[in-house]
Structures are given as structure tokens and as C-alpha cells.
């Protein structure tokens, strides 16, 4: 027993000498993080909002996928036969639910919503000093607008268009509006519900946002332009026209680019007609995954325009210069290079133009043309809006004498020409119930509307994790 007591005594003595016995020794926090309770003032709220925008420039969202993919389905562009395997499922109409690009887009869109939810909740609980109130409103407005944009993109990409069913009661997207506090597995709401949320957020954003230009971020005109586009997709022509008009006529600081400046503007950031542009820096890490690297011959150069699109431009159309005919080595002897993202082989930081004044003109033209079917006096306005774009691109051209469906079709063609390679084509085809002409190097196929494959499958990764999420019809 004496031995044991001595032994115990000695151990205590030794232990007292030892390092690291205190509980504090075991407290470690991640030095590259902040806690979820970190949003306490304008500065931290702003940083949270920055984190929301961060998702937009991810290469699977506006950074590349969400711009390229809707242009590969259809007649504007395709992947070269000499390629590195990128976007082939999109190019060949063989996307699967395991497609990494689609999954990535789903992740990033949901990430915008989840982060915006946290920031909105935190922001709404804060009170700001008088001097910060305008700035705080701007930030809160941006959060609502960002969330609306992510929902809008999600519902466009993963659900059939608003007009697919009479009352838009078909499958939409999961709508999470508050931080849940627990892990959730939400089911999908209807498309109508999605649009209700989007419109509500944008109306709120319009109220909160300031009108000053804020390059790379939403301002009031950005929310209004997006709202015009949302109403257009909802076929709420009146509101589409109203909101387009607000942007065109009431927002200061936005004018259409001149014919002379137009082509060069694609190598520049934040032009006079850019309403919402996702900013890219060379350090944003997209690098070889940047959009320009996919189209520039100094990069992968495998994203090519179709000859059919090139041929839609007249010789004198300035926009024809954004497609350069040439030959792709060891591949297409006759190739058409996309030049809308010209920084791709150098700094790889082409900004993504999400909303341009040109599109707002075309939104109003389309809304007015649709309205003119019952209100003939709207036709003139539609034509004048259309010609603002047509004539800017080609001073010798103008459209006249068209009405009804023919006029709408002409406007959709102009959308194709003006907005080519900007991530609209698939959605325009689908919402206008057109058949999709799928053009690749070696083959042309036509897919009829309605078509389960005009929208993306709910990714396998989500289906695997979330038993409540309904798959899209025709997809597993």
C-alpha cells in the first residue's frame, strides 16, 4: 500500500508539471471563419451580402455553366469535335441527372438563397443609425433581389415555363424563405408559387434599393429590369411593359451603346447599357474554367457558334463582328468563333452581362407586341422598341409592316441575335413553345415542344439527399 500511495503521489506531481491539462487547451476554433451570429452591423451585413454574390460568379453559375448551357441547347452554339469533354451532355442532348454542371448550378443557386435567407433574417433584426439607413436599405434590397434572381434562374432551368400549364400549377422549385435552423428536405412548390415569391422579393427590392449605379451589384434599375423580365416570362405583358418603361424612361444613367462602341464593349466592363453585370476578377479562380477560356482559341476554344446563327446577321450588322469565321485546327475546317468573351485567353475575367438595356427594349417590344394582339395601338411602340435595337446594330435596317404573331416572332429572332451566347436561348424557345432545332457540327436534330428534356433534371445529389424532392417528369 505504501508503494501504491507513493506511486499515486508521484503521478500527481508529474501531472501537475505537464502541459496541456487544462480544458482551455482543448478549445480551438477555425481561424478562417466567423460564427453564424457574426452579422451585427452594416459592415458585417455587407460582407454577408458579398458572400451571396460570390455564388453568382462561380463557374457553374453565371461564371460559365448558366450562360453556356442554355445556348448549347438549340441553334446558337455547340461544342467542337475537338474538345476536352466539357458540356458534351448539353451539346448532345444527353444530360443525365449526374451531370456535374447541372448539379453545380443547382448547388450555387440554392447557396444564394440559403445565404440570403440568413442575411435577410439577421439584417431585419438590426437597427441602423440614421446615417447608415440608406446604405442598409440598399444592402437589404440587394439581398432580396439576389434571392429573386436565384429563384428565377432555378425555376427557368429546372422547371417548365410559367405557361406550361394553364395556372402554372406544375412542379416548380423548393422555396425556402427563412433560415430553417435545422437540416431540411423541402419538396417543390408550383411554378406559380415560385413566381409569386420572385415578384414579391423584387417589389420589396425595388422599394429598398437606391437608384445610383453600383457596378456589379443590384440597384433599383436592376430590380426593375429583372421584374420586367419576370413578368415577361409570366406573360403578364402589362406589367412587363410598365417595368421596362420604368427602366428605359425613368432610370437615369442608362443609354443604349452606340453602333460604334458596341463591339468593343464586349471586351470592357460595365458599359452604359449594363444594368446588372456579374463582376469577375482574374483572382476569382475560374481561370481555365472561365467562360472566355471556353470560347477563345487561345484557351480551350471549343465553344463555337453555328453557321446558321452567323447567317442570320446581315453583312452590315455590327453584331456580326462578334462571330469570327475561321478554321479550328484539327477540327472544324469551317468554324465560327464566339467573341463575346474576348478576355478568355488573357486575364480570363470577362464580366457576365446579366441584364442589359438592349434586352429591356426587347422585353418591352415583346410585351407590347403581345398586347397589340388585343390593343392594336401598342404595335407602333413595339416596332419602335424593336427598331431601337435593329437600327442600332445595322443603321441601314429597320422592321416595319409586321403585326401579331409575325411581329412577336421577329422580336424573338432579334432576341436571338442580340442576346446570343448570353444564356437566354433555351428559355426563349421553351416559353415561346417553339420546337428546338439542335445544331452540332455534324448533325441537326429537331425536338418538339413540349419536351421533358427542355428542362434539367433535379440532380441526383439532391434526390439522393432529399426524399421529398420530386423528380422532373421523364427524368429519373
Amino acid at each position: 500500500m505504501v508503494k501504491l500511495r507513493r506511486l499515486a503521489g508521484m503521478f500527481l506531481m508529474v501531472s501537475a508539471l505537464c502541459s496541456g491539462c487544462s480544458e482551455g487547451f482543448l478549445d480551438e476554433t477555425n481561424p478562417q471563419s466567423v460564427g453564424f451570429d457574426h452579422i451585427k452591423d452594416l459592415k458585417s451585413l455587407t460582407a454577408a451580402t458579398t458572400g451571396v454574390y460570390n455564388s453568382f460568379n462561380n463557374s457553374n453559375y453565371y461564371g460559365r455553366t448558366f450562360v453556356v448551357s442554355p445556348e448549347l441547347f438549340g441553334d446558337n452554339s455547340f461544342i467542337s469535335i475537338r474538345n476536352g469533354g466539357r458540356y458534351l451532355g448539353h451539346d448532345r442532348f444527353t444530360v443525365t441527372n449526374g451531370d456535374g454542371y447541372v448539379t453545380g448550378a443547382w448547388t450555387q443557386m440554392n447557396r444564394v438563397v440559403a445565404n440570403a435567407n440568413l442575411a435577410i433574417q439577421a439584417g431585419n433584426q438590426l437597427t441602423f443609425p440614421e446615417g447608415q439607413r440608406a446604405a442598409a436599405n440598399q444592402i437589404m434590397g440587394e439581398l432580396y433581389a439576389c434571392r429573386a434572381l436565384a429563384w428565377f434562374d432555378m425555376v427557368r432551368y429546372f422547371a417548365q415555363p410559367y405557361n406550361y400549364t394553364e395556372d402554372a400549377s406544375h412542379l416548380g422549385i423548393p422555396l425556402v424563405t427563412e433560415p430553417p435552423g435545422v437540416i431540411i428536405s423541402p419538396s417543390r412548390g408550383t411554378v406559380a408559387e415560385a413566381y409569386t415569391h420572385i415578384v414579391a422579393d423584387l417589389l420589396r427590392a425595388e422599394e429598398l434599393l437606391g437608384s445610383a449605379k453600383k457596378n456589379g451589384y443590384f440597384n433599383k434599375a436592376g430590380a426593375q429590369a429583372l421584374l420586367a423580365k419576370v413578368y415577361l416570362y409570366m406573360e403578364d405583358w402589362e406589367n412587363a411593359e410598365i417595368y421596362a418603361t420604368k427602366v428605359i424612361e425613368e432610370s437615369a444613367g442608362y443609354t443604349l451603346l452606340s453602333n460604334a462602341d458596341y463591339v468593343a464593349s464586349w471586351g470592357q466592363k460595365f458599359s452604359v447599357e449594363s444594368i446588372l453585370e456579374i463582376g469577375m476578377l482574374p483572382t476569382d479562380n475560374n481561370g481555365a474554367n472561365s467562360i472566355g477560356y471556353l470560347s477563345e482559341q487561345g484557351g480551350y476554344g471549343e465553344w463555337l457558334a453555328t453557321k446558321e446563327l452567323y447567317d442570320t446577321y446581315s453583312q452590315t450588322d455590327i453584331r456580326r463582328n462578334l462571330i469570327v469565321p475561321g478554321s479550328r485546327e484539327n477540327a472544324e475546317s469551317e468554324a465560327y468563333f464566339i467573341k463575346k468573351y474576348p478576355l478568355g485567353a488573357s486575364s480570363r475575367d470577362d464580366n457576365i452581362k446579366v441584364l442589359r438595356l438592349s434586352e429591356v427594349y426587347l422585353i418591352r417590344a415583346e410585351a407590347r407586341a403581345e398586347l397589340s394582339k388585343t390593343q392594336p395601338d401598342k404595335a407602333a411602340g413595339a416596332l419602335s422598341d424593336l427598331n431601337a435595337i435593329v437600327g442600332r446594330a445595322d443603321p441601314e435596317a429597320s422592321v416595319s409592316g409586321l403585326q401579331g404573331d409575325a411581329l412577336v416572332e421577329r422580336i424573338i429572332l432579334e432576341r436571338r441575335k442580340e442576346l446570343a451566347f448570353e444564356g437566354n436561348r433555351l428559355f426563349d424557345i421553351n416559353r415561346k413553345k417553339m420546337s428546338l432545332v439542335h445544331i452540332q457540327t455534324n448533325q441537326i436534330r429537331t425536338f418538339e415542344y413540349p419536351n421533358n428534356r427542355f428542362i434539367m433534371p433535379i440532380p441526383y445529389a439532391e434526390r439522393n439527399a432529399n426524399p421529398n424532392i420530386q423528380p422532373n417528369p421523364g427524368w429519373n
Partner: protein, 1019 residues
């Protein structure tokens, strides 16, 4: 000559002395006296033994051998019997047979009774009799002078229960090491490595290198032995770190006596073990395939119109196929690598101080140009006894590793990707000798223009002191450092796509791992009559600190300048830190009765910073018992049994999160936009996330019979693990895609058998033959998983199934008349479809990445100084998936792309005409029925069973005495690794040794190595 003279002088002196003694004693008798002269040497290595006591049996005369082992002793008759005794050697009686001169007496080193062999165990040593756990000891000789960069790979095939896999042939890369299966979904699954009592980080430590291995910082030539501890009794004392087994490394110490110097040199070559089946197609062969493809294709009117080979050929040439170029990318990319290794060490000491000091240099080129590895090591081990009670010890190894690696898998920089994917009609250089601009990722640019350099600097060691209070109580304290600094440099030349447009980019990445461990131990050992007790009570604290710094800059002022000071644009400046701490208390107690029955009780309490406050402390324990049957009195008459022992152990150990901050919820920073700092959801808190629990049960039998000529070990083990942390996928609407939960459970069970047989016992250099054999069976079963089943990648994880059960579409071969690929519509495998998207994804019953069994079979023959040993490694019953298969089996869909090369397997096994019973479908130029990049199916799932002649060594011990060489011993040897591999699956194009998950990843293949070496020892 001088030596001989000295010998003579010495012998004369001895003779004179002995005569002097006789004279003094006045016992010169009239009887005739003889003098026996000779040498006494070690029977093992022939080295001379000095200081051996020599006596005449039945007489009073004695003498000792001199420094050269020579002796001379007067004997009464030329038939006298001499008795040789020497510490550490068996007593040897030598009967004179008339001859008196030039006698050679061999003394056998004392074989410690087999059950008294000491075994290193955590925080101490045990004997083979006292240990109650399952442990395997690998001697240093099995590791030294191997052409492998790390000791880990030399364990393959030698330790039952231990799986070591080299998934890449990149020299210096870390192998995959798993002990007794897989215990965790997302936590640590590698064994704990402990070097001289201090846990060591054994993993990749570099930031940019494709693969690095801090474990390669230990020079295998410095290792005395390695103990692999496999069950609870052996490893529970490491508590939360012991769940995956423990590998204890003990480095060499000096011994009192003459200083011994060892030198060894090795030189050899590595060749790509290029099976004929993986040989890239040449232009003619590719053209042949594509002509078929164009004829078969009707994807557009132009192609539909082509029906003749001539027209097809013309079409291909017009579209970019150049029939005049036939690049063998093997020549461009691969090489015969050089290997060399030099080691020198000195050891010795006196009764107070001993030392071991060594230096080593190792260099190995990869089989691809531009990749390689070299290492410089130095070690100093010192022990000093200040007095009877107090002693000090210090061990330190300094290492510099240098690697040239390039990124792997699908990146354009990967030379293996280029090798298996580039079409032969592209040439790396154009007609002007410039890099061919048609190739996006030119492997020559990777070789010649880019830079991929990694340096790792390591200091691994400890200092300690021991104080013996009483004969039964000792204190030991130790502080260990485990320090790794990696310095990565990468340069993308302005010619390389990623450096283009920015005029070159340079990257400097540094990582500093500064880990320390402090422990304090009290040892107690006492006997109470027949009862014996040993106890170890300890406390330990450890901290891991990692700091990473990354910088990138671009726009270089000139070529051939590489440091970032030569650039104009900083691009990335980044640093991060992470820390993890562990605090522990432990007690290990062993009781025995008459050293027949042993009971071992272990407990450990661990607290870890990686878990939340409420759950961070946990207790672990184990019980082990053994019965040394051969020490029972009833065994006394069974002479042929040298050892018979039963043992059983059961206990618990834990497993931590692999991630340092995996239990916390937080916003990650660095989520920036437009140059503004931002944060976004990084991880959602799993507050009650706690330790994974491992409960191993082991029942073992050890025996040795027939004069130890046949010995073996049987072990049956089962390991139940529960509360497994799972990176569970969650709905992306949560803002994250996965989250850690304690949900899973697994069971690993199997049998391990090892047998050693000394088939022919060679005496004094005659023919000798030993055989060692071991086999391990492995069964892995998931016992709990969220929702009972998860689909993860190409695996299905479900209760009752194993962790690497493959699940994918089932390839059903080829439709005979049309040549189209077929897939099964569902798991019943009854109906097939030609539409990939209609094919069902289902569990591939019985096809798992885990082997059914594996093991090694070694034969060693020796004869008169020659020794030949061959290790055959076998691995059976696992499946290997090639996720790059859809690219290399594009069936023509990739057309004329630069990376459109089809595999030789496609060439051999494609469908050609109606009626063909082919493995693979027809070639269709631009087709999309098969061959799309994401058409993953069992078409690319192969049987991974193989048998490999892994290690063949032929060595010859030079008769240094006879040749009068100035060495204590010398040997030369030839060694060949991976000489031959038999692969069961005829369609598997690559080496079957891939990582644990059974996925081939376009890594550098394992090389065939040939080496010549020489070992010399001086005393």
C-alpha cells in the same frame, strides 16, 4: 601484412603467456602437449568473435580469443573437447578430430527462447509470452536497401491483416495503408504511426505536389524493427488514435562494444511495366478504326453517303487526320528511370553511452520523363546513463525530400492522361521544331517549360529522461517533435495554356506542420511470489499546428527566371492556420501467474479539440488474456512443442474526425466578390458529434514446434465500429451539400494465418530453405447507415453490404447484328436496351472494391553464402473501376479530337460485322449510341485479382576471411521488384493495384525495378 604481423605477435604473446602460466605453476609434465589453433566466428555472418572463453573440457586450461577471433590452447590429446562460451551465443563444444591447426569454430548466436523475444509495445516492451494482443514484428533487414522510398510499401505481403497499396508509381508518393479493413466512413482510416514513442504524421504534407509522404522521411535503413499492433489489447492504449491499428517504429541504437560501420550502395533502373494490352494504338490502327467508324456513321448526310473505306479515309484526312505522322507517345512521355541509394551508419558505445549515427541518400526517377524523387537523411540516436538511476536519451532524424510531381487524374498536365488519350497523328513538335500549337496540353511543355518542384524538410525526434526511483518504480518523460515543412514551387510557362495570356505564372506554397507531444510515464513492476504485476501510468498532451501560405504571381520579366520577384503582378496572397489538440491519461496493467497466465487491462481517457465541449472527453479500455500452454507442467514431456499460446482480447478504441473543425458550424470567409471580402455558409454545426467507437475482438493461437522449425499464428478477428461519422449528403437548399453525423456502423471480420517453416536446415553453409506464408481474409459489412442505404458515387452503401459495393449501369455486351452496345434495363439482367438513358442503375451483386483475401508467400534459399528469396504477393476477389474508360473507349464518338485515342482493348474486341460475338460495340464516327464521356457502366468494371512476383533478391555473402578482405562482412545482391504480374481479367488494360476504393485514376503505373547492391560492414 601489418595485420598478419599483429596477429602473429598477439598469438605469440598469448602462447608466451600461457607457457608462462604453466611454468609458473610448475606443471610441465612429461606427457606430450598439443596446441589447438584456430578461429572462432559467428555462424550467421562469419564475423570473427573476440573475447570468447575457450576451455578444455575436463581440464583447467582456458583462454580467450583475440580481436581477430584467433585462439590457441594447449590440449592434452588431439581428440580433446573444447568448450566455447560467449555472451549472446550458444555454448559450443568442439571435439578435435586429430587436426590441430586452422580450426574454424562456428558459434550460433543465442536464440532467445522464442517466447522471451522482446516486442516493442506502446510505452514500453513486452515479451512474446506476456503480450496478450496481436502483434507482428518486422525486422529492419526486411526494409533496408529496398528500392522503395518508404518502409510502408515494404510491409506489403509481409504482415497479415495489413493492406498496403501503391495507387501510383510516382516515387515518393504515399501508399494507402489499411489494417484489418475499413472502420470509418469519413474519419481517419490509416493506422497510427509512432516512431520511438512519438506519434508521427504520416500523410501527404505538401500543398501542390500530386502526392507526398511525410513517412518517407524515415530512412528504412535506420529502422531496427516495426511492430504492427492489430487488436484492442495492443492498441487501446492509444485510445482515440488506435482504432485503425498502430505501427510502432523503433530506430536503431548503438551497442556497447566496438564501433561498427556499415555501408551500402544500390544502383538500378525502373521500367514501365507496360503490358502489351495498354500499348497505345498507332496511326494506322487508329485510322483503321476510324474508317470503320465513318462507314458505320450516318449522323449527317455527308457521313451517311460514305460507304467505302477509300471515301472514309479521304473524309478523315480532309477533317484533320494526318496519316504521315505516327507519334509514339510512349517515347515522348516515358523513360527508363534511374535508381540509386547510398547509406552509411556507425554505431557503438560503452556501458554508459551508446550511439547510432547514419546518413543516407536515395534517388529514384519515375518511368515518365520529368518526375522523380530524392531524399537525404541523417539520424543521431544517443542514450546515456548518468548513473544507476538516471538516464537520458535523444533521437533526431533530419530529412530533406525532393519531389518532381505533376497533377494527376484528368488534368492536362498528367503525362499518363496524355499517354492514353493523345492521338498518334499529332506530333508534339511542328515542322519548325516549335511546340505544336494544335495540342492544348503538350506533355513536352510540361517536361521542358513548366516547373513542378517540391521540397519537404523534416525533423522528427524526441528527447527524454528516465529515473529509477526504486527497483520497482521508474519515471520516464519524453518530448517529441514532428516537424514538416513543405516548399512547393510550380511554374506555368507562357507557352502552357494556364500561363498563356498572363505571361507565365509562378506559385510558391509553403506548409508548416509543427506537431509536438509530451508524455510522462510511471512504470511499476513487481513480483509477489508467483504473481507478477507491471503497470504503466501515463499522461500525454499533443498538439498539431498547420500553417499554410500560398502565393502566386504572373507576368515574368524574362524566361528562365522563376522566383516571384521576377514578376509584375501579384495574383494570390493567402494564408491559413489550423490547430488540433489532444489531452490524455492512460493506465496499462498486466498481471501474471507463474508467467503462464497473463491478464492485461488498459484504460485511456482522451479529450479532443475536434469535438464539441459536451462530448469531447471519452474513455477507452481493453482486456486481454493469454495462456502460455507450453509452460504448463503437463507439457514438459511434449518436447516437440516449443511454444503454444492462446490469447484473447477485447476492448474499445475511438476514432476522431479527420477534419480539425468538422463539428463546428460557421461562415467560411474568403467568399469574396468584386474584390470585397465576404463570407458564406461553410459548415452547419453538428453539436453532439462525437467519437467513433471501435470494438475489436481477437482470438489468437501462436505455436512453434519441432525445434522451432514450424511456427505460426492464427487469428480470428472482428471489429465492430459504431457511431461512425458520415459526411451525409443533405439537400442543397441548406446552403451546404453535406454534413457530419454519427450515424454509421460497420463490422470487419476475418481470419489471419501466418506460417513459417524451416524446410531444410542448412548447417554451416549447406543448403537451407525457409518458407513464410501469410493470408488474410477480409469481410466488411455496413451495420448501420442513415436510411439503411445510400448511393454515393458508384457505390451503394447499405446495411448488410460492404462499403465499396459497386452500383452502376450493367453493360450487356453487343447486339450481334447491329453492333450496338447493350445495357440491362434493371438488376434482373433479363431485358436489355440500346439506349443508355433507359438502362437501370443497380447494385452489381458480388462486385466490390474490397479483396476477399490477400497475402504473401516467401521462399528463401541459401547455400554457401548465396541466398535467393522471392516474395509473391496475391490479392484476390476485388473489382476495379476505370472512370476514364468512357474516354478511352469512346467508340469513335470523340471523332478526331486530340484526346480521342481509343484503347487497344477497343481495337481488339470491337464489333466488326453482323454475327460478331464482340465484347465492345462497333465504332461509329461521331456516334452517340455508346462511347459518351459519362456513359459509365460495368463495361469499365474489371476483376482486380492478381498475383505479383513482388520482390526477388539474390545475394552473396563474400567470404571476407578467405579473401582477406578488410571487412567484417560484405555482401552483394541483385534485386528485382514487380518482375511479373498475372492479372485475372483479360480486359483490364492497366495495373490492377489501385487505391482502396478500387478506382483507377490515370496515375503513373507501378514500375518494374532492377537493382544491384553491395553492403559492407567494418568493425
Amino acid at each position: 601484412m601489418i595485420k598478419d604481423n599483429i596477429n602473429k605477435v598477439l598469438i605469440s604473446a598469448i602462447l608466451l603467456l600461457s607457457i608462462g602460466v604453466h611454468v609458473a605453476n610448475g606443471t610441465i609434465s612429461a606427457v606430450q602437449q598439443f596446441t589447438a589453433r584456430g578461429r572462432v566466428v559467428d555462424a550467421k555472418d562469419g564475423s570473427p568473435l573476440s573475447g570468447v572463453s575457450i576451455a578444455v573440457k575436463g581440464g583447467s586450461r582456458t583462454t580467450v580469443s583475440d580481436r581477430q577471433g584467433n585462439f590457441a590452447i594447449e590440449v592434452p590429446t588431439n581428440r580433446s573437447v573444447l568448450v566455447f562460451t560467449f555472451v549472446g551465443y550458444a555454448l559450443q563444444e568442439y571435439t578435435l578430430a586429430g587436426e590441430l591447426a586452422n580450426l574454424t569454430v562456428y558459434m550460433e548466436p543465442m536464440v532467445t527462447a522464442i517466447d522471451e523475444v522482446e516486442i516493442s509495445v506502446p510505452y514500453g516492451t513486452e515479451t512474446k509470452a506476456s503480450i496478450t494482443g496481436s502483434a507482428v514484428v518486422i525486422k529492419g533487414e526486411q526494409l533496408a536497401d529496398r528500392p522503395r522510398s518508404t518502409f510502408q510499401t515494404s510491409l506489403q505481403g509481409n504482415v497479415p491483416g495489413l493492406q498496403v497499396m501503391e495507387s501510383t508509381g510516382q516515387p515518393g508518393a504515399a501508399p494507402t495503408v489499411r489494417l484489418r479493413g475499413l472502420t470509418s466512413f469519413s474519419g481517419t482510416v490509416t493506422p497510427l504511426y509512432v516512431i520511438d514513442g512519438v506519434p508521427m504524421l504520416t500523410q501527404g504534407v505538401a500543398g501542390l505536389a500530386f502526392s507526398s509522404n511525410s513517412g518517407a522521411g524515415i530512412n528504412p535503413n535506420d529502422i531496427e524493427d516495426i511492430t504492427v499492433l492489430k487488436d484492442g489489447s495492443a492498441s487501446s492504449i492509444y485510445g482515440s488514435q488506435g482504432a485503425n491499428g498502430v505501427i510502432l517504429i523503433t530506430t536503431k541504437s548503438g551497442k556497447a562494444g566496438k564501433t561498427r560501420i556499415n555501408m551500402s550502395a544500390n544502383y538500378g533502373q525502373n521500367r514501365m511495366a507496360f503490358g502489351d494490352r495498354a500499348k497505345p494504338l498507332n496511326t494506322a490502327e487508329m485510322t483503321q478504326l476510324l474508317i470503320e467508324g465513318v462507314i458505320n456513321s450516318n449522323i449527317n448526310p455527308t457521313l451517311e453517303a460514305i460507304t467505302t473505306p477509300e471515301a472514309a479515309y479521304l473524309y478523315l484526312v480532309q477533317n484533320g487526320l494526318n496519316p504521315d505522322v505516327d507519334t509514339d507517345w510512349t517515347d515522348v512521355i516515358t523513360q527508363i528511370g534511374q535508381y540509386s541509394q547510398y547509406n552509411v551508419s556507425a554505431s557503438g558505445g560503452n556501458d554508459k553511452t551508446n550511439f547510432f549515427v547514419s546518413g543516407g541518400y536515395y534517388k529514384q526517377d519515375a518511368v515518365t520523363k520529368g518526375q522523380g524523387y530524392d531524399r537525404k537523411t541523417g539520424r543521431l540516436n544517443i542514450n546515456h546513463k548518468a548513473n544507476d538511476k538516471l538516464s537520458f536519451n535523444g533521437r533526431i532524424a533530419l530529412t530533406a525530400q525532393h519531389l518532381n510531381t505533376v497533377p494527376g487524374a484528368g488534368t492536362g498536365q498528367n503525362p499518363v492522361r496524355s499517354l492514353y488519350r493523345f492521338v498518334p497523328w499529332l506530333s508534339p513538335l511542328d515542322e519548325n521544331g516549335e511546340y505544336n500549337s494544335q495540342i492544348t496540353y503538350n506533355p513536352l511543355v510540361v517536361q521542358n517549360e513548366n516547373r513542378y518542384e517540391t521540397h519537404i524538410y523534416q525533423a522528427i525526434g524526441n528527447v527524454g529522461a528516465a529515473y529509477q526511483f526504486t527497483d520497482y518504480l521508474t519515471y520516464e518523460g519524453k518530448a517529441g517533435i514532428d516537424f514538416h515543412y513543405s516548399d512547393d514551387y510550380r511554374y506555368w510557362s507562357p507557352i502552357w495554356p494556364d500561363g498563356r495570356g498572363v505571361n507565365g505564372r509562378g506559385m510558391e506554397y509553403n506548409r508548416l506542420w509543427n506537431n509536438w507531444t509530451v508524455n510522462n510515464i510511471l512504470r511499476y513492476k513487481d513480483d509477489f511470489g508467483d504473481f507478477g504485476i507491471t503497470a504503466t501510468l501515463g499522461q500525454e498532451a499533443a498538439k498539431r499546428n498547420l500553417k499554410s501560405v500560398s502565393t502566386q504571381a504572373q507576368n515574368f520579366v524574362a524566361e528562365d527566371l522563376y522566383t516571384l520577384a521576377n514578376t509584375s503582378e501579384p495574383y494570390i496572397a493567402w494564408s491559413s492556420r489550423s490547430h488540433a489538440t489532444l489531452a490524455s491519461y492512460f493506465l496499462n496493467t498486466s498481471f501474471n501467474y507463474q508467467q503462464k497466465y497473463y491478464l492485461n487491462v488498459t484504460g485511456r481517457r482522451d479529450g479532443s479539440s475536434r469535438f464539441g465541449k459536451q462530448v469531447r472527453w471519452a474513455n477507452f479500455w481493453s482486456l486481454g488474456a493469454s495462456w502460455n500452454v507450453h509452460r504448463e507442467s503437463f507439457m514438459e514431456n511434449l518436447d516437440f512443442v516449443n511454444q503454444l499460446k492462446f490469447r484473447i482480447s477485447y476492448g474499445t478504441s475511438g476514432n476522431m474526425l479527420g477534419e480539425y473543425y468538422g463539428a463546428l458550424g460557421f461562415y467560411s470567409t474568403n467568399q469574396n466578390y468584386m474584390g470585397q471580402p465576404g463570407f458564406a455558409i461553410g459548415q452547419i454545426e453538428s453539436g453532439l458529434l462525437q467519437w467513433e467507437l471501435n470494438r475489436p475482438l481477437d482470438i489468437g493461437l501462436e505455436f512453434s514446434v519441432l525445434n522451432n522449425r514450424l511456427s505460426g499464428t492464427f487469428d480470428w478477428y472482428t471489429r465492430q465500429t459504431s457511431r461512425l461519422i458520415q459526411d451525409m449528403p443533405v439537400s442543397h437548399t441548406n446552403g451546404v451539400t453535406q454534413l457530419n453525423f454519427n450515424v454509421g456502423g460497420m463490422k470487419n471480420y476475418g481470419v489471419e494465418i501466418s506460417l513459417s517453416s524451416h524446410n531444410v536446415v542448412g548447417e554451416n553453409g549447406s543448403f537451407d530453405w525457409r518458407t513464410d506464408f501469410n493470408i488474410t481474409t477480409l469481410n466488411n459489412k455496413i451495420t448501420a447507415i442513415q436510411d439503411g442505404r445510400r448511393y454515393e458515387g458508384r457505390y451503394v452503401r447499405e446495411v448488410g453490404g460492404d462499403y465499396y459495393q459497386f452500383r452502376m449501369r450493367g453493360y450487356a455486351g453487343v447486339e450481334r447484328t447491329t453492333g450496338q452496345a447493350l445495357w440491362f434495363t434493371d438488376s434482373t439482367r433479363t431485358a436489355t436496351t440500346t439506349e443508355f438513358n433507359q438502362a437501370g442503375i443497380f447494385k452489381q451483386e458480388g462486385k466490390s472494391a474490397l479483396a476477399d483475401f490477400y497475402g504473401g508467400f516467401t521462399n528463401t534459399f541459401s547455400y554457401r553464402g548465396f541466398s535467393l528469396s522471392a516474395l509473391i504477393y496475391f490479392n484476390w476477389g476485388n473489382f476495379v473501376y476505370d472512370p476514364w474508360g468512357p474516354y478511352t473507349h469512346s467508340d469513335g464518338s470523340a471523332m478526331l479530337g486530340e484526346a480521342a485515342l481509343m484503347s487497344r482493348m477497343v481495337y481488339r474486341h470491337r464489333w466488326r460485322q453482323p454475327g460478331d460475338d464482340a465484347e465492345y460495340p462497333k465504332i461509329v464516327y461521331g456516334g452517340n449510341q455508346s462511347g459518351q464521356n459519362d456513359y459509365h457502366s460495368t463495361r469499365f468494371l474489371y476483376d482486380g485479382s492478381y498475383i505479383r512476383l513482388r520482390d526477388v533478391t539474390l545475394s552473396y555473402s563474400l567470404p571476407v576471411q578467405r579473401l582477406r578482405l578488410p571487412f567484417a562482412s560484405a555482401s552483394i545482391y541483385f534485386r528485382a521488384n514487380n518482375l511479373y504480374t498475372w492479372v485475372k481479367d483479360d480486359l483490364l488494360p492497366y495495373d490492377p493495384e489501385v487505391g482502396y476504393g478500387g478506382q483507377y485514376d490515370q496515375n503513373l503505373p507501378i514500375a518494374k525495378q532492377y537493382a544491384l547492391g553491395i553492403d559492407i560492414s567494418f568493425r
